[in-house]
């Protein structure tokens, strides 16, 4: 369990603890095997007791990933380190100096998972696409240490009108992830990640894909040619979101008229001022619709 003070010094230096690093370096030449008995298992947020041997007074130093401390101790007695002093998981170095210095290192493991950081991408996904939704979960203990121990995490995907789909994924190096297809129906997809009694929830909006089978109808009125689409849907039958632009085009020889009209309640409407006999067509995104011939006399 003892640890080279050389390594300890390097660790302290790289972790930006200059005072401890200085002390460590100063003692480098006099370090010996520590008269310390360290716990075999230590967990973040749990008190640690370090047994010492020998007699007389000494100075105890403890340097960890996010803290360092100094205390006067009596050799031969246990050194009690409070839970607060070992909240950060990682490698700690204990040093005792009494004339000469001894050191030993120990590892504090993360505590039990207490929260899950859960990221899902994208926030909107068109329906019917493969591997378009991905999620990644990171378990953390109550002190925000990433739990590195392999742990089974449950991902549950539930969309309205479908049976929830569940899968268990084991974390590797503190990370568990999944990738999945979007469904056929537009609407919210609720994704829940759980680990024992800890869970987190995200929602991905499954949205309609590109319009499909665009069909229009129209008639000449006093104000011009009134055209409108039939309800605009994607190839899975989902209505496209309101605001989707449908471009109506009326051609009469070289004369061309356009209107970019937004879909409202599934239908896009526009008025075209074209004169004479015209051919009206519509397009939205990559989809084109039928052509409509409207005579000039109507």
């Amino acid at each position: 369990m003892s640890w080279s003070i050389n390594t300890a010094c390097k660790t302290l230096s790289t972790r930006g603890i200059p005072v401890a690093a200085f002390l460590c370096s100063a003692m480098l030449g006099i370090a010996q095997d520590a008269p310390l008995r360290l716990p075999s298992h230590a967990f973040a947020g749990q008190p640690v007791s370090i047994a010492t041997s020998g007699s007389g007074s000494a100075t105890f130093y403890l340097s960890g990933p996010s803290s360092s401390m100094k205390r006067d101790i009596q050799l031969g007695q246990n050194i009690d380190i409070t839970a607060k002093d070992v909240q950060s998981a990682g490698r700690y170095v204990a040093i005792i100096c009494s004339g000469e210095c001894s050191s030993a290192g120990f590892f504090v493991a993360p505590a039990e998972p207490a929260s899950l950081a859960f990221l899902v991408h994208p926030s909107r996904a068109p329906v019917g696409l493969n591997d378009v939704i991905s999620g990644v979960a990171f378990p953390f203990d109550q002190f925000h240490n990433l739990v590195l121990t392999p742990t089974m995490i449950q991902f549950q995907l539930a969309a309205k009108g479908t049976t929830p789909n569940s899968r268990a994924v084991e974390t590797h190096s503190g990370v568990a992830w999944f990738r999945t297809n979007s469904g056929k129906s537009a609407g919210p997809l609720q994704i829940t990640v759980s680990l024992s009694d800890v869970n987190a929830r995200r929602v991905v909006q499954q949205v309609a894909s590109d319009p499909c089978n665009l069909r229009i109808k129209g008639q000449r009125t006093v104000k011009g040619i009134q055209v409108e689409t039939e309800p605009v849907r994607d190839c899975s039958g989902n209505p496209v979101p309101d605001g989707t632009i449908v471009t109506f085009t009326a051609k009469n020889g070289d004369d061309v008229s356009f209107v970019d009209a937004p879909v409202k309640q599934d239908v896009a409407r526009a008025t075209l001022l074209a004169k004479g006999a015209v051919v009206v067509s519509a397009a939205s995104g990559v989809a084109t619709g039928n052509e409509l011939r409207i005579g000039g006399k109507e």
């Binding site: 909107r124 605001g243 008229s257 001022l273």
Partner: protein
């Protein structure tokens, strides 16, 4: 010192004489001050020629001397009064003309007889969106001992009082509160894509243009940047589409973009790096502006232009309409993107004509076109 004193006195005397001469000459030539009202450069009260009449008229317009300008026009209809005449020149309803001033003009006679003449006038306006050039043909008639400008513009039809139900969509953007769980309120940026890109050399330099589509289901604020890279991999220049793009794109909407690189030749360019940036913005689908009766044609000067009419299908005044047109060849490739600001405001349910020019060298290639309309409304800004 004794020698220098007479020289200084002589220099002072000569200076005083020159100043006096200068002032006297100035007054007689009418180039100093405007108090007399007749001493304007280029202005003559007796418009004995059509050129002089047109010049006098435009000088009055330039100086906003409306009474005198109006007295020099001959109306063809009683409905054309001084108020509508002034509105024609100074604009109204917050249109671009309202923020413009006539910087200079050039007149050129087209034909003239003893009784009538036609003048072509090139008007150079300075506007908030840059210089705007307007070409108009004036008809003049000899009346008594003076030439009068014939004003036969049809007055714009008044927009009747009406109620236009507005039920278009609006998207608001809600920012999550800071206290929420990390990663719980990430809303992705809209998904937009450059669907075409073409780079050409023009008289002013290199031009990169094409089209962008919003493939998402939410509105996007879009900007396109291009970087020109030379053979050694170093950057020649980078520019953005600035105002030559429809920035707010509704779902599935397509906009042309054009990026100008003045004084850069494509022969030096090895590579063009394109970058489209899209951000989530609050947006409205109102107003809907139709682009009607578009036709490729030649204007009076023989230039190829696409002209048509904008129809405001909503109940909101569009103060400054901005037309952006993409032109395609027979393969559907974008060969040119042109834009133009419409000088008059587009009133609700009313139309306003527009025209954008196509370079002569490309006019023969153009087989198709698509026009989008950017709109600036004072009540939204």
């Amino acid at each position: 010192m004794k020698r220098a004193l007479p020289i200084v006195i002589v220099i002072l005397a000569v200076t005083v004489v020159l100043i006096f001469l200068g002032l006297s000459t100035g007054r007689s030539a009418g180039t100093v001050g405007v108090a007399a009202g007749t001493a304007l450069p280029g202005f003559s009260t007796n418009a004995s020629t059509p050129e002089q009449a047109a010049n006098n008229f435009l000088l009055d317009v330039q100086r906003r001397n409306w009474d005198r300008a109006f007295s020099n026009v001959e109306r063809t209809s009683d409905s054309l009064n001084e108020e509508t005449f002034i509105q024609e020149w100074v604009g109204s309803n917050g249109g671009l003309r309202s923020f413009s001033s006539l910087e200079r003009f050039e007149t050129r006679p087209l034909h003239a007889t003893d009784s009538e003449a036609q003048m072509r006038v090139r008007l150079h306006w300075s506007t908030p969106v840059g210089p705007v050039e307007d070409v108009r043909d004036f008809r003049l008639a000899h009346r008594g001992d003076a030439w009068k400008i014939i004003w036969d513009d049809a007055p714009k039809p008044n927009v009747p009082a009406q109620i236009v139900p507005v039920n278009y969509l609006r998207w608001d953007l809600v920012t999550g509160t800071a206290g929420e769980e990390w990663g719980s309120h990430n809303v992705d940026a809209p998904n937009v894509r450059i669907v075409s890109m073409n780079a050409v050399d023009s008289a002013e330099g290199a031009v990169v243009m094409g089209e962008v589509v919003n493939e998402d289901t939410i509105p996007a604020f879009v900007n396109v940047n291009a970087t020109l890279v030379n053979g050694s991999g170093s950057t020649i220049d980078d520019e953005s589409s600035f105002d030559k793009i429809l920035h707010v794109l509704l779902p599935k909407q397509v906009t042309p973009y054009r990026i100008d690189f003045p004084q850069v030749s494509l022969s030096k360019v090895k590579n063009v790096r394109m970058d489209v940036k899209a951000t989530l913005v609050p947006a409205s689908s109102d107003p809907v502006i139709g682009v009607m009766n578009q036709k490729l044609d030649k204007d009076a000067q023989g230039h190829s232009v696409l002209h048509g009419e904008l129809l405001n299908e909503s109940g909101q005044t569009v103060n400054i309409p901005h037309v952006i047109a993409s032109f395609y060849d027979n393969n559907g490739k974008v060969v040119w993107v042109a834009d133009g600001y419409v000088e008059h405001a587009l009133l609700p349910q009313a139309t306003e004509s527009f025209a954008v020019e196509i370079p002569q060298s490309l006019a023969g290639k153009v087989q198709n076109f698509h026009v989008v309309v950017n709109q600036y409304s004072l009540q939204n800004s």
